[in-house]
């Protein structure tokens, strides 16, 4: 193990450690803009400069490996001046309008400029023209603010396997974006927003719709209801300086009520509904295939994640039949709110405005799909990301930290623990297994604390097998069958899994895919993160929320049973088919 001296302190680090990680181990923070833990170290921004004894020039800590006996200074005059010059050069090429910039609160460039005491920029740089790109429903791009750190490119290409963004042109005219500086809507982009999650500045961000929600709330003729996705409660706190992994469910409900929503409901309710529909769809497909020998597309893929759906529509048109026909929980909620709930309170669908709070930018895209209008009106009217809700609460002057806990309204507000874990990679699968196993055998899923351990955690592709024995009469054909399932998160992993399935290397009955690394807790609309520690903290919080619930299985949620009893009839019935299921379309391949 090489040892090195950082600012007069000697530490030992494993072989192959980079200076940046060694410094962190020694408790020394080094500024970064292009570095992304575990994903990108390319030495592009040069803000991580340090002084290495014996080296002629300052070195970039993110690309310099530690060698034995190295002596490093991270806070010398030379280092500070070097970093300041780098920052000034970046600022000289940057269209800075911090006052009106969406990143004013959490801009990494601005933070560093302040940290290094930059009061004046001594250079004149050539700026990329702004040409703000409003072409998509989820994201806004402002190339004038781009500092060419390439984080978005790496994430979009390597993590998501989509490749919407690349360097275009060369020299002073270079910019980062879609082919030939076209609007984003002209190229394949799944709207996942992972680029907006890692962008250090205001060059890619969510399309802000806060004012649209305020407008609806101000309209006396509108009955405005809100739903919050399972992942929000484990991340919203970060917008108010709580540490990652703090659950703020109760305060979130209070805040929404104070914002003036007529009813505060839960997407979790619709997650339970999804399990009822999707679980039954799976069982029907299995029955068709295993008992009746009918042609049936297997494995069945989950359909909750709109980025994944769009990806399949662009890239794997031959496998669209494998996607569950279930709408996502967000859309199921909207469809039920504008029919069942509307009838209950004596309103027409057009009098109701459904607002969603989602961890996801792709949900903005999903909500405006023409397929999503079960009541004749859009199922969901406006989608806010977690980041937007955080800003909205602050704009309204609500002191989040001092809010009391409150609970969701009835009849679309109750949920089981199975719904909570929709937020985590592996969670939809676990939730489905909890219910499906019980339907098939009449017994509880035989895993400790109902957690299907092999499906949790941050491995890119996870598998599990569940052997079915002691079936109920209706499900005899499953007696002795080993149910094989798999889980992938991040589309790059999903693509690998798809290839294994297509080549026949792996066979599964049911596959869960979530577009974002870690699942919805790491969604493109969540408070910005660039590390797995935060993802894991949120995942833990979600499991805690699940374990704290009295009801842990979707099929036991009394409000769901009431919905079927009073309105839907049965899963996969006529009404469900019309309201809760959807179709997919073909899209351009490149």
């Amino acid at each position: 193990m090489p040892s090195l001296m950082i600012n007069n302190e000697t530490i030992e680090v494993p072989d192959g450690t980079m200076l940046i990680d060694a410094a962190r181990q020694a408790g020394v923070e080094i500024p970064t803009l292009c570095y992304l833990e575990g994903i990108q170290r390319i030495g592009a921004c040069r803000v991580c400069l340090v002084e290495v004894e014996g080296a002629r020039t300052l070195m970039t800590a993110c690309t310099t490996p530690v060698t034995d006996g190295m002596k490093v200074k991270t806070n010398s005059k030379r280092v500070r001046e070097g970093r300041r010059t780098v920052l000034e050069l970046l600022l000289s090429e940057h269209e800075g309008d911090c006052q009106s910039c969406v990143r004013n609160d959490d801009c990494e460039l601005k933070k560093l400029a302040q940290l290094f005491g930059i009061e004046e920029v001594h250079y004149k740089g050539s700026k990329v023209p702004r040409k703000t790109d409003w072409s998509t429903s989820a994201l806004v791009r402002d190339p004038g603010k781009c500092i060419m750190c390439r984080r978005c490119i790496t994430v979009c290409n390597e993590i998501q396997n989509v490749g919407s963004l690349a360097p275009q042109g060369r020299g002073f005219k270079m910019s980062i974006g879609p082919a030939f500086e076209h609007p984003l809507s002209d190229v394949v982009c799944v709207q996942c927003g992972q680029c907006s999650l890692v962008c250090p500045v205001g060059a890619i961000s969510e399309r802000d719709q806060i004012e649209k929600v305020f407008e609806a709330l101000d309209d006396p003729d509108k009955h405005v209801v809100v739903q919050t996705a399972p992942a929000i409660r484990a991340a919203l706190g970060e917008c108010f300086d709580y540490p990652p992994g703090t659950l703020v469910t109760g305060k979130m409900v209070s805040a929404l009520r104070r914002l003036g929503f007529d009813a505060v409901f839960d997407t979790n309710f619709a997650a339970d509904l999804t399990i009822m529909e999707e679980g039954n769809e799976l069982l029907t497909r299995l029955k068709n295939a295993l008992q009746d020998g009918k042609q049936t597309a297997l494995p069945m893929f989950t359909s909750c994640s709109p980025g994944w759906i769009k990806y399949m529509e662009h890239r794997h048109p031959d496998m669209l039949d494998n996607l569950s026909t279930c709408k996502s929980p967000q859309q199921m909620f909207g469809a039920v709110a504008k029919t069942f709930y509307a009838e209950k309170i004596g309103k027409r669908p057009e009098d109701i405005c459904v607002v969603s709070v989602m961890p996801c930018t792709a949900k903005k895209f999903e909500a405006q799909r023409p397929e999503m209008q079960a009541s004749g009106m859009a199922d969901v009217d406006v989608v806010l990301t977690t980041r937007e809700l955080g800003r909205m609460i602050r704009r309204a002057g609500i002191q989040f930290q001092s809010l009391p806990d409150d609970t969701m309204d009835s009849p679309l507000g109750m949920s089981s623990g199975a719904a909570d874990i929709f937020a985590n990679t592996g969670g939809v699968m676990e939730a489905a297994l909890r219910t499906a196993y019980e339907v098939i055998t009449g017994r509880t899923l035989p895993f400790e604390n109902l957690h299907v351990q092999p499906l949790s955690g941050l491995d890119g592709i996870k598998e599990a097998e569940v052997r079915i024995e002691g079936t109920q009469p209706e499900w005899r054909f499953l007696e002795g069958v080993t149910l094989k399932v798999a889980v992938a998160h991040a589309l790059g992993n999903a693509e690998k899994l798809l290839q294994r399935i297509q080549s026949g290397e792996s066979e599964y009955h049911f596959v869960e895919v979530m577009t974002c690394p870690g699942g919805c807790i790491g969604g493109g609309g969540q408070p910005r993160i660039t590390d797995n520690a935060t993802r894991l903290a949120r995942i833990e919080a979600i499991y805690r929320e699940d374990e704290g619930k009295r009801i842990r299985k979707s099929n036991e949620n009394p409000e769901i049973l009431q919905l079927y009893g009073e309105f839907l009839g049965q899963p996969l019935g006529e009404k469900s088919h019309h309201l809760l299921h959807t179709k997919y379309v073909l899209r351009n391949e490149v």
Binding site: V162, G163, A166, Q168, G169, P178, A179, F180, V187, V590
Partner: protein
């Protein structure tokens, strides 16, 4: 890159783009598995079509299993790729040292003004494209420009219009004028 001289051959002038695009597929087939095959494939396709229209780039991207944006980035990075159709005549201005010190910069500016296009662009009537080059061995007679295969020596910024006029004439039976001049010069 050895292939920068691949340009469209005039006999294909009237082949419709759709037809040309079908000739892209065998090129993709040939190069998709080869490491580093993207750039030669792009060069050959540019040779077939004369430039790289977006439809061709998309086709190549999908054939190579890459994204449109990535391949567009590659095309934009190398100066020998052109995404606009080339004109009937390609003008190249030498910016080599000798030409440069003898006023090639002013010549280039004059040409841009005269044709109302920038380097890498083609005039609206598709007669001229403008490119820059690095020395075609005419240093003794700098500044030099090339129009297609003809080298023009000691070009004066004020006279560039006259040179181009003769190529414009070509279309209307002006061929003879040029041939006559050429043989006179030999």
């Amino acid at each position: 890159m050895g292939n920068e001289n691949i340009t469209a051959c005039a006999c294909q002038e009237d082949v419709p783009l759709e037809e040309l695009l079908t000739r892209v597929d065998p090129v993709i087939e040939q190069y998709r598995q080869k490491p580093g095959g993207l750039i030669p494939a792009l060069q050959i396709v540019q040779g077939i079509i004369g430039y790289l229209p977006e439809e061709a780039i998309k086709r190549i991207a999908s054939g190579f299993g890459k994204s449109f944006s990535e391949v567009a980035g590659v095309v934009g990075f190398y100066s020998f790729f052109s995404t606009t159709p080339r004109g009937r005549h390609v003008i190249r201005v030498c910016l080599g040292t000798a030409c440069y010190v003898r006023g090639a910069g002013q010549v280039l500016e004059a040409i841009k003004r005269n044709l109302q296009i920038d380097v890498g662009e083609t005039t609206k009537d598709r007669i001229f494209s403008l490119e820059v080059a690095r020395c075609f061995g005419a240093c003794g007679l700098a500044p030099a420009i090339m129009v297609d295969e003809d080298v023009h020596h000691r070009v004066k910024p004020s006279r560039v219009g006259d040179i181009f006029e003769r190529y414009r004439l070509r279309r209307n039976g002006g061929e003879a004028v040029i041939m006559a001049e050429r043989s006179a010069a030999l």
